[in-house]
């Protein structure tokens, strides 16, 4: 039932064919792994007769109804580093430091369907060749031979082709991430998702016969998220606002359902990598999108965390023409607004010291008030005690937008000059949607206890002591930094 397969080079992955029955398409799986996994994977444990809940949901509702006989069980393969050993007499895994989880790289379920056999998988980005620097992840529990392991990654699977297409697989990935990451969301199995896309059960193969963006939107609504569709202005090739919003949401930790209508394809955007800092400052204000080198995508045609360039080649971010961001309920202030709001914030430069507008790189994203307080608490020596007090005392709504201002030099060393904290529940018509706007010497603090803002009592300025640093730390805690192995 269990087979241990040491890997000395990626070519050894082809040996999967010797151990796994052809209905799981081991040759195709081995080829996919060979092309995408790093040399850090030194052993694979093959677990047969594995009962996979996602495959079973399609088995009970589809495969079992077919004339051709399909198996009910799957194969699960697990990836380990070179320090783990397996005793096949007692079926025990061990590592010298007794910390098996630290040496575990994830798993991949193989379905007995002949084609498109890669099912529910969670693999760490650390062993994905060419993975981007920052990836949205969650911890996934794995029970194996009495060991309770944890793998941090983003879920992925191939589409079934006959009953689910790429859009279903993408919805599944995002929703499985949500159910593992946040207690508020339920778990949905593959077959649930094919039904959620429709108003009624169409039966047969209908769910896979065409799926529009509205169907994917419906899946996210049914899953109790609050999806927003953002579409690129096709008539305006330089629609940078679209990409700025895309970066802002990914930087907020929200995976995106991205549509590429020219390819008839969908995938999840789950991360990014900044380009190397420039030696010479470019003129004009820039946004974080201008600093993105690659996007990390979970595309069912590839192993997860494929890096695609911003532009150029046959597959790039420029192919994305719409995306859905499944938001939590209480985000009312839209990302659309920031392109118009941000240039006006420099008018407050008379009160708060900001870098010159045409030398500033702007980054904006959503986080929670509590995550922001944790970030500040962990770096409290950077903050004047009075500002720290304000951050801890202000009654933030659950979600806040953060706008960071950095010079080119600060950007290169992960620092910023100033930060605006904006109420994510604010109305678009508010002139002062802020909680805090601080630089290094002054901070504006806003009271939001009344809808009628009194400029004399509802906001005030703090003059702060110099804290002996050249900039505040950039807040990049929403995504996990990849540690390539």
């Amino acid at each position: 039932m269990y087979t241990w397969m040491p890997i000395t080079s990626t070519a050894d992955l082809a040996k999967l064919v010797q151990h796994i029955s052809p209905e799981y398409a081991p040759a195709a799986v081995a080829k996919r792994l060979e092309n995408g996994l790093s040399e850090a994977v030194k052993a694979i444990l093959i677990e047969r007769n594995y009962i996979d809940k996602d495959y079973r949901s399609t088995y009970y509702n589809f495969y079992v109804k077919k004339g051709r006989r399909y198996r009910a069980d799957c194969v699960r393969i697990h990836f380990f580093d070179g320090t783990v050993s397996f005793d096949d007499k007692v079926l025990a895994l061990s590592s010298n430091d007794q910390r098996l989880t630290d040496h575990y790289y994830g798993f991949m379920v193989l379905r007995p369907t002949g084609i498109a056999t890669i099912g529910r998988s969670v693999v760490t980005p650390d062993v994905r060749r060419g993975a981007s620097r920052f990836i949205i992840t969650a911890d996934h529990k794995v029970h194996l031979l009495g060991h309770k392991l944890t793998i941090r990654g983003f879920p992925s699977m191939d589409q079934h082709i006959d009953i689910s297409v790429c859009a279903h697989a993408t919805c599944w990935s995002i929703l499985r991430h949500y159910s593992e990451r946040y207690n508020a969301y339920s778990e949905f199995l593959t077959h649930d998702i094919t039904l959620m896309a429709q108003q009624f059960d169409p039966g047969g193969l209908v769910p896979s016969r065409g799926l529009a963006l509205s169907h994917a939107e419906r899946v996210f609504q049914e899953a109790d998220t609050y999806p927003i569709i953002v579409a690129r202005d096709i008539k305006n090739p330089g629609d940078l606002s679209f990409y700025r919003q895309l970066t802002a949401y990914v930087d907020s930790g929200f995976p995106l359902f991205a549509a590429m209508h020219n390819k008839g394809h969908a995938m999840a955007v789950v991360g990014y990598e900044w380009r190397a800092p420039l030696n010479t400052a470019l003129p004009g204000m820039r946004y974080s999108w201008d600093e993105v080198k690659t996007l990390a995508v979970v595309d069912d045609n590839h192993l997860p965390y494929l890096s695609i360039p911003v532009d150029g080649g046959t597959y790039s971010a420029k192919d994305i023409d719409a995306f859905i961001v499944p938001l939590p309920e209480k985000v009312f202030y839209p990302a659309d607004a920031f392109d118009k709001l941000v240039p006006k914030l420099f008018k407050l430069g008379t009160v708060i010291q900001l870098p010159p507008q045409n030398e500033t790189i702007i980054r904006y994203f959503i986080t929670t008030g509590s995550a922001f307080r944790t970030f500040v608490r962990n770096r409290q020596s950077e903050f004047d005690p009075k500002l720290l007090e304000a951050i801890m005392k202000l009654p933030f709504a659950q979600f806040i937008w953060i706008v960071e201002f950095a010079t080119e030099a600060q950007w290169a060393v992960n620092q910023i000059s100033a930060r605006a904290v904006i109420d994510a529940t604010a109305s678009l018509t508010e002139s002062y949607p802020f909680w805090i706007f601080h630089g290094r010497e002054e901070a504006l603090i806003f009271g939001r206890e009344s809808v009628d803002l009194n400029l004399q009592t509802g906001m005030g300025v703090l003059n702060m002591a110099a804290m002996g640093h050249t900039g505040f730390t950039r807040m990049d805690t929403n995504l996990r930094p990849t540690q390539s192995k």
């Binding site: 859009a167 009160v351 003059n463």
Partner: protein, 70 residues
């Protein structure tokens, strides 16, 4: 503002009132330019989203690429 502190002054020590004149340019630009432009932008995006809703998304199996070196 030492006595009878109200609003945000009651919450945070050391705050001073902001000179309303320093905020005038910001407030004018927000009400006269930024907010109307934001509302227009949100409406435009809503229209674009509505147009995109019914575009089909499906890669036929014959078009699925073979795994390649990445």
């Amino acid at each position: 503002m030492e006595k009878d502190q109200t609003g945000v002054f009651k919450l945070v020590d050391g705050l001073k009132p902001v000179d309303a004149k320093a905020l005038a340019a910001f407030e004018r630009e927000m009400t006269e330019e930024a907010i109307p432009e934001m509302i227009k932008e949100v409406e435009k995006r809503r229209m674009l989203a509505a147009e995109s809703r019914h575009r089909q998304l499906e890669m036929p199996i014959v078009d699925k690429p073979e795994p390649t070196k990445e």
